[in-house]
């Protein structure tokens, strides 16, 4: 079981991701914007953060950059969720410091496996 932060501004999609991860035994915290995501990673220190790219206020890309710049959080595994599928978008996502970039629509099962795979690789 891992502690997972899910930051996504679309309530239905956020519930779906949280439902899938929780059904596999993970402890999921949900937030709906980038500011809350940053506050949550600092106060609760999850094992992995799932960040949507286009959230209001602080975007997922900005949140990932700030996490990477924080010495206490720099090694936090990050998976980016995105509705932007262009090559340059994927590049921008990975350059921001994300470990993985998942394009919508995605299979919840595959997504959960990617989260778990990342957790395993990070030991």
């Amino acid at each position: 079981m891992a502690r997972i932060l899910v930051a996504e501004d679309d309530a239905d999609l956020r519930s779906l991701v949280a439902f899938k991860l929780a059904s596999r035994g993970h402890d999921v915290v949900q937030v709906d914007d980038g500011v809350a995501a940053l506050a949550s990673v600092r106060s609760r220190r999850p094992d992995v953060a799932v960040l949507d790219v286009t959230m209001p206020g602080v975007s997922g890309l900005d949140a990932a950059r700030q996490i990477r710049e924080d010495p206490d959080l720099a090694d936090l595994p990050i998976i980016m969720l995105s509705a932007r599928a262009g090559t340059s978008d994927v590049e921008a996502g990975l350059k921001s410091g994300a470990d993985d970039y998942v394009i919508k629509p995605f299979s919840p099962r595959e997504f959960a496996l990617r989260v778990e795979g990342l957790l395993e690789r990070r030991g």
């Binding site: 991701v17 599928a85 299979s107």
Partner: protein
């Protein structure tokens, strides 16, 4: 008070396409995700007729995802970058024929693949080349008559690698030829015969060709059939593998 203008200042078509491709992905993701979860949860305990309904839902999610990918490709944000992988085109074509066997059998169209035994390797992007090939063979299949034949081949010609897809289907009317490869263009005989399509397939083949320094040539006669050639220039790097296709 601000009055919202009746006519919006011009948004470019490719800007609108990019926006649509992005904006529709999040709601589609929720629909696709819950359909998958329901299928998993109910596996083995669902009446066959509901199973069919679920499968139809999932099939159409896949279809819509492809459409969104196509819209993105032809939009402002869809720049295809040249790849650097070593791709065996014979393998790509075998995969395409395998993936289109079910619809081909459904329409009694014979997909005849003629590729050399040895690999025909080009440098490029495997995903893009697959899409170009699946669009070419898919189009040939779509515009074939029931019981028709689609011949698919690839060979080296000089320093080029040349892929050809030929059908004996409905062909393209002469007055439509100038508009081929324009996004959303559909020829009059395709519309008359109610052949479904978005008019993006050939445009995407052209964009993939551009990204691989290739050209697309079309030879067609209405009522007789169409041959489309995708010529990837200067891709035959090993002279020993160069053969001529007579």
């Amino acid at each position: 008070m601000t009055v919202v203008p009746r006519h919006e200042p011009g948004l470019e078509l490719d800007e609108i396409l990019a926006m649509l491709s992005h904006e529709l992905r999040t709601p589609l993701s929720t629909i696709a995700g819950y359909l998958e979860i329901i299928s998993e949860e109910l596996e083995g305990r669902i009446e066959p007729r509901y199973q069919l309904i679920l499968e139809a839902g999932r099939r159409n999610v896949t279809r819509m995802t492809r459409l969104l990918d196509d819209l993105l490709t032809v939009s402002r944000d869809g720049l295809l970058v040249p790849g650097t992988e070593e791709i065996d085109l014979c393998r790509v074509l075998r995969e395409v024929v395998e993936d289109l066997t079910v619809p081909a059998v459904g329409r009694s169209v014979d997909l005849v693949l003629a590729v050399p035994e040895e690999p025909l390797v080009v440098t490029g992007d495997g995903g893009q080349l697959y899409r170009a090939c699946v669009n070419l063979v898919g189009n040939a299949l779509k515009f074939s008559h029931e019981g028709g034949r689609v011949a698919i081949g690839v060979a080296r010609e000089g320093t080029d690698t040349v892929l050809r897809v030929a059908d004996d289907g409905i062909g393209i009317p002469a007055d439509a030829r100038d508009q081929l490869g324009t996004s959303f263009f559909r020829s009059s005989n395709a519309i008359e015969r109610q052949i479904t399509g978005t008019g993006l397939g050939l445009r995407i083949v052209q964009l993939v060709a551009d990204a691989h320094d290739g050209i697309v040539e079309i030879d067609s006669e209405e009522g007789r059939g169409t041959t489309v050639t995708l010529r990837l220039r200067g891709t035959a790097s090993d002279p020993s593998t160069i053969t001529s296709d007579d």
